[in-house]
């Protein structure tokens, strides 16, 4: 797990997330609901978060960002900011699937988000590793899976499946999922995970 001052970002969902960790201590962990205003406000919230602790971007040691799947627009906004920060300041950059960002590290988690058209962005993780890699499934298949795995923790947004679960990112789980495997070698080359390919 990384040390130093780390900025955590995700905006694959309508709710954007900005977090700040210093070594293993959580300084900030905030979710913002600004539908259709992510392009305007994500960077502002990043600045607010750093300002609160009198940090400037130059104080950062690493960035951790969720790269989708999710809203095409949202994913690109967070990634454009993260890439530019990492490139300009020569920071370490960690990228993980946005679904993994929502997982609870210690508990086997089912992560779901609405993929529209009766489908779900779906994944299962435990301790930062995937049990089922991020994919798109039909809502019916997902509902079936959930019933068959009642011992899994539900994380993400299940409203479209008729289940009342809407979680926020747990920054410490996000943090613990970072390791050598998701540390980026070439910041310029990083692309989002869309799953919906052209």
């Amino acid at each position: 797990m990384p040390s130093g001052l780390g900025l955590f970002l995700d905006s694959a969902e309508t709710t954007m997330f900005v977090g700040l960790m210093k070594d293993e201590k959580t300084l900030a962990s905030n979710s913002f609901y600004y539908p259709r205003k992510q392009a305007e406000l994500l960077l502002v919230e990043i600045k607010n978060t750093l300002d609160k602790f009198s940090y400037s971007p130059k104080d950062l040691n690493y960035i951790a960002v969720g790269i989708g799947p999710g809203s095409f627009t949202g994913v690109r906004i967070a990634l454009a900011i993260a890439k530019t920060l990492a490139f300009s300041l020569d920071l370490k950059m960690y990228v993980i699937s946005s679904l993994l960002a929502y997982a609870k590290y210690d508990e086997p988690s089912i992560i779901c988000f609405d993929a529209r058209g009766n489908r779900t962005y779906f994944a299962c993780y435990k301790k930062g590793d995937y049990i089922i890699k991020e994919t798109i499934l039909n809502n019916d298949d997902v509902k079936k899976f959930i019933l068959e795995h009642a011992d899994f923790t539900l994380r993400g947004n299940f409203k479209h499946l008729g289940i009342d679960v809407n979680s926020e990112i747990d920054i410490f789980s996000f943090y613990r999922s970072l390791n050598e495997n998701n540390l980026v070698k070439d910041v310029k080359a990083i692309k989002p995970i869309y799953l919906k390919d052209l």
Binding site: R116, G117, Y194, K196, D197, L198
Partner: protein, 158 residues
């Protein structure tokens, strides 16, 4: 239950009045499918609708961009032209728009995957009768538009 209504319109002023008449019935999350040949007046209908909301800036065909989104006050209106998609089933983010609370107009819906059009919607087909005359054919299966059809029939004796 199926609603249906045909209205003959002569001239640009009457076309504008029709759009203004229909406008208040298109509430948040409405999906309107526009069909008709080139030059029938599909984009003009959208332009007039936006005008009725107070948007008087340029509204042109979205064929080049595929989607144009207009923000009028707190309302978002999407104007999609699927002509260039030609039935190719590409995931280009249209579902996010269509499934939202926005008001969405789609020209050439025939070129989209039907999966995207599952939501209840209003169909408007515009037939060119001659230079100035059009036949607007309204159809819908959605109860939400019941009052629109009743009032259209009353107003236009259709």
């Amino acid at each position: 239950m199926k609603y249906s209504c045909e209205i003959k319109i002569s001239g640009t002023i009457a076309s504008k009045e029709l759009a203004f008449f229909v406008a208040p019935y298109l509430k948040a999350s409405s999906l309107i499918l526009l069909s008709g040949d080139l030059g029938a007046g599909k984009t003009t209908f959208v332009r007039n609708f936006l005008l009725s909301l107070g948007y008087n800036k340029s509204v042109t065909s979205p064929t080049f961009n595929i989607v144009k989104t207009y923000e009028v006050g707190h309302t978002f209106v999407n104007h999609i032209d699927a002509y260039r998609l030609e039935g190719r089933d590409e995931e280009i983010g249209l579902d996010e728009l269509i499934e939202s609370d926005d008001i969405t107009f789609i020209e050439w819906p025939i070129y989209l995957n039907p999966r995207l059009l599952m939501k209840e919607h209003l169909d408007i087909d515009i037939k060119i009768l001659n230079n100035d005359e059009r036949l607007y054919v309204f159809n819908s299966n959605a109860k939400a538009y019941e009052s629109l059809f009743i009032n259209l029939k009353e107003r236009y004796h259709a």
